[in-house]
């Protein structure tokens, strides 16, 4: 019968499609796992080496550490999030809840989308021209944090905007129909509902910021003065909290020692740093998933 042979063919196609798709996913997973295992594996010796994790980087001798770089990476991340989170939250709320459909809103959304795919080296060069040279801030944490903010802002705005837009319309209607203002509805009803997606997005973007090198090479600079955690003189280059000092991060460190490093243990330092970076980013991703799922569960049941 024609119909049964057609359905047999459909079933066969379905089988083939399932097989092909499974194979593609398997290849991708294997490749990714291989990269992670290789990077973490080749730097494994350094991962638990306290003198490497906290030590001073060396210019010419072997045995250098990445203490300042590790701190700088986290410090820049925190500053960047402090700058970009409120701004992108505001922009996303405006775009998702307040802006009327129209040419201006469409243009704004398009611009944000375009900016979120801007190559980070372009952001870095802009940061150098504007913050470092024009404003005369030099290679500094401030220049780097602002460059990273520019890099992060459009991505974060989109993530939050999409999270808000994914909240069903009827939640908005319910709030408004109870005589709540748009602001009350957004802050007390929509944001909590969107929280799992927002938190996941923020942590994932934090991973990208943490591993960013190109935007920082010419803004936060490529030198890491040794930090003295007892120094609270905000104008001193060894004060960790001084935002006007240059600050090389882990990712920039990898780039630098590989392109111009002369230390004898270059390969070991480089792969050790890469392993630390990788573990941090993996941790961000895992935390993002756990926190996102926790929040989700807290919101939908019990």
């Amino acid at each position: 019968m024609a119909s049964s042979s057609a359905s047999a063919r459909a079933r066969r196609q379905d089988h083939i499609a399932t097989g092909v798709l499974t194979a593609i996913v398997a290849v991708i997973c294997v490749a990714l796992v291989a990269i992670v295992v290789y990077i973490v594996g080749s730097g494994a010796g350094k991962l638990f080496d306290v003198s490497f994790l906290t030590g001073k980087p060396q210019q010419f001798k072997a045995g250098g550490g990445i203490g300042p770089e590790l701190f700088n990476s986290f410090y820049l991340l925190v500053l960047t999030l402090l700058l970009s989170l409120p701004l992108s939250l505001g922009a996303a709320i405006y775009l998702a809840e307040y802006a009327h459909e129209g040419p201006v809103t469409t243009a704004a959304k398009t611009i944000i989308e375009t900016l979120s795919s801007l190559p980070s080296i372009v952001v870095g060069l802009f940061g150098m021209l504007f913050f470092v040279l024009q404003l005369g801030w030099g290679f500094s944490i401030m220049s780097g944090a602002l460059a990273l903010t520019m890099f992060n802002l459009p991505i974060l705005t989109r993530v939050i905007q999409q999270a808000l837009e994914a909240v069903p319309r009827d939640q908005r209607d319910a709030g408004l129909a109870l005589g709540l203002t748009r602001w009350e509805t957004t802050i007390h009803i929509l944001i909590p509902s969107a929280m799992p997606a927002i938190v996941t997005g923020v942590i994932l973007s934090a991973g990208r910021v943490f591993g960013e090198a190109a935007a920082l090479i010419y803004t936060a600079g490529q030198s890491a003065p040794m930090l003295d955690f007892t120094n609270f003189d905000l104008s001193s280059a060894s004060c960790p909290w001084n935002v006007w000092r240059p600050a090389e991060t882990l990712a920039v460190h990898i780039w630098k020692i590989n392109s111009e490093g002369v230390v004898p243990d270059l390969a070991a330092v480089s792969s050790g740093t890469a392993a630390v970076l990788m573990v941090c980013i993996l941790a961000f991703n895992i935390i993002a998933r756990i926190v996102g799922r926790r929040l989700e569960r807290r919101l939908t049941a019990e």
Binding site: D170, D173, L178, L180, I189, L299, T300, A301
Partner: protein
């Protein structure tokens, strides 16, 4: 200015029927209300009057403008871009579209229950207490009392009293809808608009909601309910309005209208010849 919910209630003979004994205290009236989406007039001039303690059902085939009409009463149409409302909606003697009327104050008195149950992502307690707290009731004991009273009024107290801190989403669909009704009743509204509140519910939950509607009416709340279920309209509503293609075709006492419809189109609709 007098608070909007303390305006006059006019007592006068019902429009339509000449029965002198049928005096109704009209709390809400629409005069030639029209609604336009862009250039499409989805609702042609509609005039209806609603009384306190009365349940009115809005019936008619899909797309005839029932929800559109309902949303023009609590001004939810303002939230839809490109939507324009004409004519007058008079709540306690005041045109709600007049400048100076506080939209948020108005919506406290005219509540709304939606087709899909839409509890907040909050605990059962917070679902009810949240809006009253935003509107200024902050004392814990007052809120506790309000929550219990509202949940009782929506006939769901016994089912949830031991799990008030659990999420509203952990309830069944029918319970969620009754929670949404409780949330609306917690505002002590004069008028409750319900847009097909039982369309996602099983017969038992539907029965519970209908009981709630009747008890709301006995406490003087004016309820306007959109329904596709003619038996439901017959069971719960005192009065009925039939819409067709954006036009309000016929209105009157439900029992009389269903027994002998004066408009042929209503007759056709009731006998299932279209719609």
């Amino acid at each position: 200015m007098t608070p909007i919910n303390q305006g006059p209630v006019s007592t006068r003979p019902a429009t339509g029927e000449g029965d002198a004994a049928d005096l109704r205290s009209v709390i809400l009236e629409t005069r030639d209300v029209t609604v336009t989406y862009g250039t499409h007039e989805a609702l042609h001039p509609t005039s209806l009057a609603f009384a306190a303690g009365e349940v009115t059902s809005l019936i008619g085939p899909s797309g005839c403008g029932k929800s559109t009409y309902l949303r023009s009463i609590n001004l939810m149409n303002r939230e839809i871009e490109g939507c324009k409302v004409g004519g007058q909606v008079i709540y306690r003697g005041q045109d709600v579209n007049a400048p100076g009327v506080d939209l948020f104050e108005l919506r406290k008195h005219i509540g709304m229950v939606f087709q899909q149950p839409n509890p907040f992502h909050k605990s059962i307690y917070e679902n009810v207490a949240f809006a009253p707290r935003r509107h200024g009731i902050t004392k814990k004991s007052d809120l506790d009392q309000l929550v219990e009273e509202s949940l009782r009024a929506a006939a769901i107290w016994d089912e949830v009293k031991d799990k008030l801190s659990e999420s509203g989403f952990a309830l069944s669909g029918g319970q969620q809808q009754r929670l949404c009704i409780a949330r609306t009743l917690a505002m002590h509204p004069d008028i409750v608009l319900m847009d097909e509140p039982c369309s996602a519910l099983d017969p038992i939950s539907t029965f519970a909601v209908e009981e709630t509607i009747r008890s709301m009416a006995s406490r003087g709340i004016c309820t306007i309910i959109v329904t596709h279920n003619m038996e439901q309209a017959a069971r719960v509503s005192d009065r009925c309005a039939f819409f067709l293609l954006g036009e309000m075709v016929e209105t009157g006492v439900t029992a009389e209208m269903f027994a002998n419809p004066s408009d042929q189109r209503l007759d056709d609709y009731l006998t299932g010849r279209f719609g």
